[in-house]
Amino acid sequence: MRVIDLPPSLEDKTLDQLAESIAGWPPEPFILDGRAATWANPSGFVALLSLGDALRDASLPRPRFLIPDSPETRSYWARNGFFHHAAETWEVVGKVPNKPFETPTDVLLPITPIRVFDDVNDVVGKIQERAQRILAAEVNLAPQATVRFVMTLSEVCQNIVEHAGASGWVTVQTYNWKKRLGRKVAVIAVSDSGIGFRRSLESTESKKVGERWGDGAAVELALMHNVSRYRDPGRGQGLYHIRSYVTRWQGKMSVRSGTARITIVPAWDDDTLLVEHLPFFPGSQVQIIIPAQEEGSAS
């Protein structure tokens, strides 16, 4: 059995390293070795859970996951519910701290499965009081921006149910990005194990696009041109609204699907707008980062 190392620091970019190690889909059976891992961001957690879902959905053998050696890392991953959820699809190997669930203070929404529309209703209902308090106090978001934050969360979770054709995961957390940005940020991370943007739009869009058709073109159509597989003119607006919210609040948004990633890049970042030919990772992953607003900024 081959062994794949989990990147020590798992986030949206190092996910590409993991995808490269998995080497295609469906993959040969593997053990995921997370013993050297010391940190994962929200995108890392939900992507790992979606990877487990995708392996299960592909009827592949239940993979083993060797949990981190670091007691601090184990403790955090236990408290935020990661091990609890991972046990549904991974054989979790190692001594998981036997502590009761206790949402860390920087977590606005613990790791939560999204399977049906009712889950979205619950997410929106549960997050509001905490979101309004934390986003106002720590991220300096005006009340109206907090409402849009919740609407954005709702739309991005709905995309899983409506378009992915599979289950997904969401979590929301705040971070202090002192070195990188000098400010706090709020992060929404969503991942699913579904069909991805390309297959979702293929029947209606591939011929129109022609030779350029692929994961990158599909994400671009959905994110930048509000294209939906539905003909209803009210459809295709979810990602548009998310994008406009992110832009208005100088946020960053990235959408990875299959082998491509498109990023809405704010002035404070130098990421690449479109990256294609990435190693394949199942489903779609969305990350939205809203930085703390500076005094006197838009409200």
């Binding site: 529309f117 009712d118 979205v120 209703n121 619950d122 929106v124 209902g125 509001q128 009340p143 109206q144 409402v147 849009r148 919740v150 609407m151 709702s154 739309e155 709905q158 149910v161 409506e162 003119p233 009210g234 607006q237 979810g238 609204h241």
Partner: protein
């Protein structure tokens, strides 16, 4: 005859949620079905959608509940929809989805705030709408005098408002939609 529909309680009857947020397209479609069941076969000329106690409304749900209900209402010859109990939590989503469909609706905010047009509108329509609300029934000449326009410009604006069912028209005169029933 006006029928007031309180959305928050209707939401809890329709979907199994303890919350009062109008989110997801599925929730919106289910709620619209309930609203249509409520008004089907009855002779209500005006439907008042009361947003009192509704939390957040997202774009997908606004599209299903408000935009699609307005589209259905526009198929009837003499039916009107107005919104009441609207707060800042609701304005953006409703305004945007209606604009996307080229629809408009009269919205009465919580408290004593002035009614406003949400969705597709223009500066002339907004001015004419406010003037009709303030001055009450009248004709194009009355509006023209009130806002300093030509009669032709006033007549155009009033006709557009009437076609969008934001005011009532009868025999060359215009008047505001009935005020919403209190909560």
């Amino acid at each position: 005859m006006m029928r007031r529909i309180e959305l928050a309680p209707l939401l809890r009857e329709t979907v199994s949620t303890p919350y009062s947020d109008l989110v997801t397209r599925s929730t919106g479609a289910a709620l619209r079905d309930r609203i249509e069941q409520t008004i089907n076969g009855a002779s209500y000329r005006t439907i008042q959608l009361d947003f009192t106690a509704v939390g957040v409304i997202d774009f997908s749900c606004a599209d299903e509940v408000v935009a699609k209900l307005l589209l259905r209402a526009s198929e009837g010859e003499d039916s009107y929809v107005l919104l009441s109990g609207v707060t800042e939590l609701h304005l953006e989503a409703i305004d945007h989805v209606l604009e996307r469909h080229g629809l408009s609706v009269a919205a009465f905010p919580v408290g004593d705030g002035a009614p406003r047009v949400l969705g597709a509108t223009s500066p002339d329509l907004a001015v004419a709408f406010q003037a009709v609300q303030k001055h009450g029934a009248g004709d194009a000449k009355r509006l023209a005098d009130a806002v300093g326009w030509t009669v032709e410009r006033a007549a155009d604006a009033l006709q557009s408002l009437a076609l969008r069912r934001l005011i009532l028209a009868a025999g060359g005169t215009y008047r505001p939609l009935p005020l919403p029933a209190d909560a």
